[in-house]
């Protein structure tokens, strides 16, 4: 049993080691940048996976290119622009505001504003105070009397 656990623990530590060892970086900062980029860039082949996740050939190629660019000292934005140059805006999970995508930003805000406007207008209508004059009072009494007479007859 003890031997079994020891062997098991050996496996776990090995896997963790292998994961870290797959890519070599000059600095920790580069490693973080690489990780962020591979999570933010989208695989053009198996859509809805980032390139860190995907096993497609093109995703591997993109990872390798990101690695080379990061090691070259390129900033995050420079790498993203490099990929957008080649694969279009599709490749980045954070689409820019353009006339075509504007509706994505504007529509939710618009719906909230219209909804609140609707509520406010209804509230205002409902809270309008009724005026009640002496003439109304007289009219009411008259109507009540009339009604009573009708019931009696």
């Amino acid at each position: 049993m003890r031997l079994f656990l020891l062997t098991l623990s050996l496996f776990i530590s090995l896997a963790a080691f292998a994961q870290q060892d797959r890519y070599q970086f000059d600095s920790n900062e580069q490693a973080i940048r690489f990780e962020e980029l591979t999570k933010e860039l989208r695989c053009p082949k198996c859509q809805n996976q980032n390139i860190a996740d995907s096993d497609a050939v093109v995703a591997k190629d993109l990872r390798d290119r990101v690695l080379a660019l990061v090691k070259d000292g390129k900033s995050k934005d420079e790498v993203i622009d490099y990929m957008i140059d080649r694969y279009g805006y599709f490749v980045h999970y954070d689409p820019p505001v353009t006339p075509a995508t504007l509706i994505l930003w504007v529509l939710p805000v618009l719906i909230v504003i219209i909804g609140f406007g609707f509520i406010v207008i209804r509230q205002r209508k409902a809270s309008v105070k009724q005026t009640w004059s002496d003439a109304d009072e007289v009219m009411l009494n008259k109507l009540i009397k009339q009604n009573k007479r009708q019931e009696q007859s």
Binding site: V58, D61, R86
Partner: protein, 190 residues
């Protein structure tokens, strides 16, 4: 009046959703446009697929209108379009192949076997038709990445100055040719 207007709103939303979803039926999510449209073919220097010691650069390709067809023997759709591409070649359209090596990994596949690949390509082209003037071998898929290629088959239309005018993802068939390529070709080669 106001009430009638309010009654129309759900109908309007319904129509909007219908139009939106109907459009979706005909959209192809795999069709990804390269960011390279309107730019020149990226600089490259790559070997010929069939000949030793022969290399191709972007400069050598300038001066002609041509199709750059990304393909590989591993790709069934590429095999399917070879027949039609060969017909296009017979009509005088210049087609250059960019051979996309699917997954060459020294750790798994052992040393790269050039002769086996050449035999494979010759066999397939002899069987299905050979539309290519020549083939450029992109072993590392570096030019493919610079062109924004995500797989095969993909085709680029390039003009005399080396400017990329069109990018098509998927096979070329008579329908695609008529709709996408033919009007532009007419302008370029009247």
């Amino acid at each position: 009046m106001n009430r009638k207007l309010m009654a129309i709103v759900p109908l309007l939303i319904f129509i909007f959703i219908c139009v939106f979803l109907y459009q979706g039926l005909f959209a192809n999510p795999r069709e990804i446009q390269t960011g390279r449209i309107g730019q020149t073919v990226p600089t490259f220097n790559l070997p010929d697929l069939m000949q030793d010691n022969k290399r191709w650069t972007d400069e050598q390709l300038k001066g002609d209108v041509y199709l750059l067809n990304v393909w590989g023997t591993w790709c069934p759709t590429c095999l399917a379009e070879l027949d039609y591409l060969t017909k296009l070649r017979e009509q005088g359209i210049k087609i250059i192949g960019l051979y996309y090596v699917q997954s060459y990994d020294a750790d798994f596949d052992g040393p790269f076997d050039m002769q086996a690949l050449r035999d494979d390509v010759s066999n397939m082209l002899a069987r299905a038709g050979d539309p290519y003037q020549f083939n450029i071998l992109d072993l590392e898929r570096s030019l493919a990445l610079d062109l924004g290629v995500s797989g095969a088959p993909e085709t680029f239309l390039v003009d005399k100055n080396g400017t990329i005018l069109l990018h098509h993802t998927g096979d070329i068939n008579p329908r695609v040719w008529r709709a996408k390529f033919a009007p532009l070709m007419q302008e370029l080669q009247p």
